[in-house]
Symmetry: C2
Subunit: 301 residues, 2 copies
């Protein structure tokens, strides 16, 4: 079963990444400001698992449309995700100098250009969505709204803000509980993962019911993904992860393993994944999407 | 004539600001992340001349639509402008601690929250545009594309990147010429001013020819606005401006007065304003827009 899922994932990646990768930076040519364009491309090309765009394209397939139909949505999601990494890595935020085994954007290009590269990618995401003439105007408007809601202060940006406040609180000896931790993650990482599936639903022309299923499955997957991230930070090695590990504990950050214990966190991860699976099973063609979700919940890096 | 223009401007502001101001922050209520929302509101409410939204609403009137029709576009422009100020003021960029006579966002809220407040406003701009149900889906898509192009790495973000590079160049003893200065400003400030008039054209349902006129007038006004900014930095006082002045020269920044002399810069300002006027005169109802353009070119703060 796990082996099946893994073969499916590998086959899907071999099929989807050639659609995605050449297009990731093709829009970023021909500008007059080479330096910020270079910084944007640098971070986009740093690799990573392309979790969100692949989720989006497989969600489109799950409602019996093609993966290609969701290509612009997939690109926009990866632009947003990459911008958020660039800004999160800044000295004023998480202050990371290594990302996916490479120097972070501000280390390579300076802080000013890194801030601008993030701003540029965030803006470009909406350009790509609005400019996709293979989608109807209503679909494009819908996608812009869903993405803006998920990425903005009611979503990812709001979660990052709460997280910064939480760090200040714990540094001064305070603490917060599981409910607050869940709220942070629902916004910080959950909102964009949910949007990944919802944008796939929009692009794939899902019914109202299918879209609700995909959105709710996205919420569950977002939780699973964050728990897994916390578990990996607590248990993996820098070599495997391509970034510093154990830094959550070093920074006194509140995590799922800290609040629930490692076994409790693993149990919560399993429950969230099963909730997602139950929702996805109701879709017409969920096999690849479910395999990818399974793979994410079991990843070791 | 100047007195006429001034009365017209005051009457227009008395009429337009009540449409604009209560809506500027009304969308920013009800979030879960109060800190970043507060930082966003703080910077939006710091005032300023509301140059871009007023241009946008008057452009809509110039093609015989109402100012209200362009309200969402006007809000989006002010969100984008405010985000750009927040990020430009950061220590890694222009490192300003005073803006419109108040502490800058990162001084008041810390660097991390200020970066996020900028990100949040940038994202919210597209949310507001896409969510304006008084515009047809085609108009909304059009507006998102024009705004993203103007604000992103092919526009404002690109210009800011070139400007950062230029500063590094002059710090190391290098220099650049008038053509390069014009390129920086065409992107850094010109693109968004041009978009202000073009968004008004889109919202107001302008003809193709009217839209081209407004866009070209926007380019000329963008140049005029930047020259006037440089002149004011060289000649005004901190008290009048509500921010540090003379900082261009302190930083060895290349400006129009530096390259053309003060009289040459004033001459270039007059020419750009006249070019804009000639284009605007061809529109059905340009009086308020022309008065506002005149006011901007003659402002003393």
């Amino acid at each position: 079963m796990i082996h099946d899922a893994l073969s499916q994932v590998q086959a899907d990646l071999d099929r989807l990444l050639p659609i995605l990768e050449p297009n990731l930076t093709i829009a970023l040519r021909g500008g007059e400001a080479d330096r910020v364009g270079e910084a944007m491309r640098y971070s986009l090309q740093a690799g990573g698992k392309r979790v969100r765009p692949v989720l989006c394209m497989l969600a489109s397939e799950a409602v019996e449309a093609t993966a290609e139909k969701a290509r612009a949505c997939a690109l926009a999601l990866e632009y947003i995700h990459t911008y958020s990494l660039i800004h999160d890595d800044l000295p004023a935020m998480d202050d990371d100098d290594l990302r996916r085994g490479k120097p972070t954007c501000h280390v390579a290009f300076g802080e000013g250009q890194a801030i601008l590269a993030g701003d540029g990618l965030l803006t470009e995401a909406f350009q790509v969505l609005a400019g996709d003439i293979t989608l109807a105007p209503d679909q494009r408007i819908d996608a812009v709204q869903v993405l803006a809601e998920a990425a903005g202060w009611r979503g990812m940006v709001g979660g990052q803000s709460l997280d910064l406040e939480g760090e200040a609180l714990t540094r001064s000896g305070g603490s917060y509980d599981l409910d607050h931790l869940k709220r942070i993650h629902r916004l910080k990482t959950g909102a964009l993962l949910r949007a990944s599936l919802e944008l796939g639903a929009i692009a794939g022309g899902a019914t109202f019911k299918q879209r609700a299923n995909l959105r709710d499955a996205g919420s569950a997957l977002g939780l699973a993904f964050q728990i897994q991230d916390d578990i990996l930070d607590a248990t993996s090695t820098a070599e495997k992860m391509g970034k510093r590990v154990g830094k959550d504990e070093d920074k006194g950050k509140i995590t799922y393993p800290l609040l629930l214990g490692l076994e409790g966190a693993r149990q919560a991860l399993t429950e969230a994944t099963e909730r997602a699976n139950a929702l996805l099973q109701a879709l017409p063609n969920p096999r690849s999407l479910m395999a990818w979700a399974q793979y994410l919940a079991e990843r070791t890096a």
